[in-house]
């Protein structure tokens, strides 16, 4: 057995165990005693995550301590060995700056979203069940980011998929939610299987699944093998992070309650792919082809998501496509080797996207589960707080210089692509930035400006299937008036999120001397790079110009006074004229459906209805029939007549005699 390479300082870290297991405890208590807890379930679930957040903060020092070098692998952080799962499959917890960052977001933003959910989910029949699932998700996600080996990561990977499945299908009496949940789960299993295959390759190489062992030998894999490892890991990342061609589940996942979309399908789970690639930076850095592949897929997803974002009417689907697009940026960043950039965009995105979702949740909640922006409008007057929340989010995501956090991180990604020698990806990323500004402002203007259109007949707005548009799932429950939880439970978390949304990007300001670069100094490989042909400042200017163009187009189409006055007619026109290729999301769903789903169903039907009963059983039946036929044949000799038997006997005896006579004659 090879010597194990452990990453980080080995030791006992009670806070680490606490922050990992507290959410699990919360989940179990909420699940087991939900009916008894009643409304206390929300407080309990939130408290578990809140305490976990405190424990995470207390781990800061240990997670950022550097380790006396023992050769090769990254050497920072805290490590605690837990137990041996199987020989070669040891399990332990590792907290270095990368996992610390994720853990902070998972517990921190997670805590705010939990508190928000107390208000949002108030009155739901399965209030405690919701918090059990949410706590379980946090536990699973922490398992994913704290594991020190690939199998532990895969376990977390699968469990977050399960939590996501439960929460998408939370309102399981809705067929659409059930289908969306299944789709999300199955597509994510495709990703799990990819990671499994990578684990096989790693295990076959180093007889271990630990990160330390896998990375210590990163230089010794042959190129094709390493590319295969990266490729299969990326299948996992693509499925979880909704990258082409496995992205189709994410928009459907918006069937879940809005806090779920904020926590799982925006801030944390869908960024697991970014985490995986950043975690495996030592592998990716060794393989140019893998970097190229991931960079291209990331950029294409960013562009595609942005284009599709322009064609959506459901506020949550707009945000879903924007999430897909922004994760494309992150994946592109970590793919090309700009790890700090990709991770930075995850960090800022977690705040502003959570805020956008929670803001939209306030609107949806207030409008009794209306999600179609065409039926909103003019909300700036009735919901000024929601407007502020959405506005700061839009500023951040659009990347308006210095005003929002998104600018800084997106700039790191875009400039990183150029620096690492990918001018085409750079160009795509810039164009996508412009489109992003357009569709986000479109959403903002249509929602908040003009007149309220909720009382307009849906068909006048071009809504063809009002019952399908928007999630009016438990609208029935909300029709009956019941006391809502205090609004501050929803507003305060959003208010708190505004602060980092606006300010946190400044951490990344200042290039190599920024606190951000310092934080990750020991985490990622830093190869010497040639100076980029376009300076950072110039990139920022180009990006800003494109953003301004995007905002201007959005303003011209939805913001100017005539557009506001004729909003109903204009929206109807746009809905009717929307190209089919956009409303069908470039036909990815159809392609997957026809290529895989229907093919396997057809094969299954063929095998189950034809091959099994006709061919295989047919062969068995034929054997039985031929025995029967033989019996019938022999039966005809059994006449029952004594004389026939005697006659046959004589013939038989004669045959024998003739045979022996001939044989004897031949012998002589």
């Amino acid at each position: 057995m090879p010597v194990h390479h452990v990453m980080g300082n080995e030791g006992n870290y009670p806070y680490l165990l606490a922050l990992w297991l507290l959410p699990l405890a919360g989940a179990i208590v909420n699940w087991a005693f939900g009916p008894q807890l009643k409304s206390a379930a929300g407080a309990l679930g939130s408290a578990a995550i809140g305490v976990a957040f405190v424990a995470t903060v207390l781990m800061w020092g240990a997670a950022t301590q550097s380790v006396p070098s023992t050769g090769g692998v990254n050497l920072v952080g805290a490590h605690q060995t837990l137990f041996s799962w199987l020989p070669g499959f040891d399990f332990g917890l590792l907290m270095d700056p990368l996992s610390l960052l994720w853990a902070l977001i998972i517990t921190g933003v997670g805590f705010l979203i939990h508190v928000y959910s107390i208000g949002y989910m108030d009155g739901d029949n399965a209030f405690a069940r919701f918090f059990a699932y949410m706590n379980f998700f946090v536990f699973a996600m922490l398992t994913l980011v704290l594991s020190d080996n690939f199998v532990g990561l895969l376990i977390g990977w699968g469990l977050v998929g399960l939590a996501s499945y439960f929460l998408i299908g939370f309102w399981f009496f809705k067929p659409s939610a059930v289908a969306a949940a299944r789709k999300a789960f199955v597509l994510n299993v495709v990703g799990d299987v990819g990671i499994m295959f990578a684990i096989f390759m790693i295990f076959a190489s180093v007889h271990s699944t630990g990160f330390g062992d896998a990375f210590a030998f990163a230089g010794s894999y042959n190129t094709g093998w390493l590319f295969a490892i990266c490729l299969t890991l990326f299948i996992g990342a693509a499925a979880k992070s909704a990258q082409i061609p496995l992205q189709t589940w994410l928009p459907d996942a918006m069937e879940g309650p809005t806090p779920v979309s904020a926590l799982i399908h925006a801030a944390t789970m869908v960024t697991a792919g970014v985490y995986l690639i950043a975690r495996c930076a030592p592998l990716w850095s060794q393989n140019q082809d893998a970097q190229m592949l991931v960079g291209v897929i990331g950029a294409l997803t960013a562009l595609l998501g942005a284009i599709l974002g322009c064609a959506q009417w459901d506020i949550k689907r707009i945000l879903a496509y924007s999430t897909m697009s922004q994760i494309g940026y992150m994946i592109m960043g970590v793919g090309v080797g700009a790890y700090e950039g990709g991770v930075a965009h995850f960090f800022t995105h977690a705040f502003f996207k959570a805020q956008l979702f929670l803001g939209s949740g306030i609107i949806i909640h207030a409008l009794n589960n209306e999600q179609d922006v065409r039926r909103m409008g003019g909300l700036i007057k009735t919901m000024p707080f929601a407007f502020v929340a959405m506005l700061t989010g839009v500023i951040a995501i659009s990347g308006i210089p210095y005003l929002g956090s998104g600018f800084f991180s997106k700039d790191l990604v875009i400039q990183g692509a150029l620096q690492h020698g990918h001018p085409w990806l750079y160009a795509i990323a810039l164009i996508t930035a412009g489109i992003t500004a357009y569709y986000m402002c479109r959403m903002l203007f249509v929602t908040f400006l003009g007149q309220y259109r909720g009382n307009v007949d849906p068909s006048d707005l071009g809504i063809r299937h009002p019952e399908l548009a928007g999630t009016s799932a438990h609208a029935a429950e909300h029709d009956e008036v019941h006391a809502h939880a205090p609004a501050w439970l929803m507003n305060v978390p959003v208010g708190i999120l505004i602060v980092p949304t606006v300010l946190i990007g400044w951490l990344m300001f200042g290039g190599e001397n920024s606190p951000w670069a310092h934080f990750f100094a020991q985490q990622f490989p830093h190869p010497a790079l040639p100076a980029a042909p376009i300076s950072e400042t110039l990139t920022a200017v180009i990006a800003f110009a494109l953003v301004i163009v995007g905002i201007a187009i959005a303003w011209a189409r939805y913001g100017v006074a005539p557009a506001q006055q004729n909003a109903v007619e204009r929206l109807r026109q746009e809905s009717v004229r929307m190209p089919a290729v956009l409303t069908n999301a470039f036909y990815f769903d159809y392609a997957i459906d026809w290529l895989f789903v229907r093919t396997s169903q057809l094969l299954g039907t063929l095998f189950g209805r034809f091959l099994d009963p006709q061919v295989i059983d047919g062969a068995v039946r034929e054997t039985a029939f031929s025995a029967q036929w033989l019996g019938t044949l022999v039966r005809s000799f059994q006449t029952g007549l004594l004389r026939t038997y005697a006659f046959l006997l004589v013939i038989g005896a004669t045959c024998f005699m003739v045979y022996y006579a001939v044989a004897m004659g031949a012998a002589k």
Binding site: V634, R635, S636, F637, Q638, T639, G640, L641, L642, R643, A646, F647, V650
Partner: protein, 104 residues
């Protein structure tokens, strides 16, 4: 020097003739009594051979076998007649072609 005046081949020939007369009787006739008698003929053809060869080779085994065959033939005739009588009692006539209980 053979102790026999008549050559052995004549015995074999006579035995074969008697045997095939018996065979023909069993196949052709439908009366069970005649069939039993034909079977006796076949037995006796075999007995004739036993005795002839016993004499030719001066070996007593043939005599012993001939006695054995006579004994078995007596037993067989007894059982055969018993069956014939039983059948006659149930069906009132004795044509073997009417008895096809073993038809498959």
């Amino acid at each position: 020097m053979s102790p026999m005046a008549v050559p052995i081949a004549d015995y074999v020939g006579l035995s074969a003739v008697i045997f095939f007369i018996g065979v023909a009787g069993v196949i052709v006739r439908r009366n069970p009594l005649i069939m039993l008698m034909s079977i006796e003929l076949m037995f006796n053809a075999a007995n004739l051979l036993f005795i002839a060869f016993s004499r030719a080779w001066l070996h007593n085994a043939g005599h012993i076998f001939a006695f054995l065959v006579i004994t078995v033939a007596a037993a067989e005739a007894a059982i055969g007649l018993a069956i014939v009588v039983t059948v006659f009692r149930t069906s009132r006539h004795v044509d073997v072609d009417d008895i096809a209980l073993m038809k498959g």
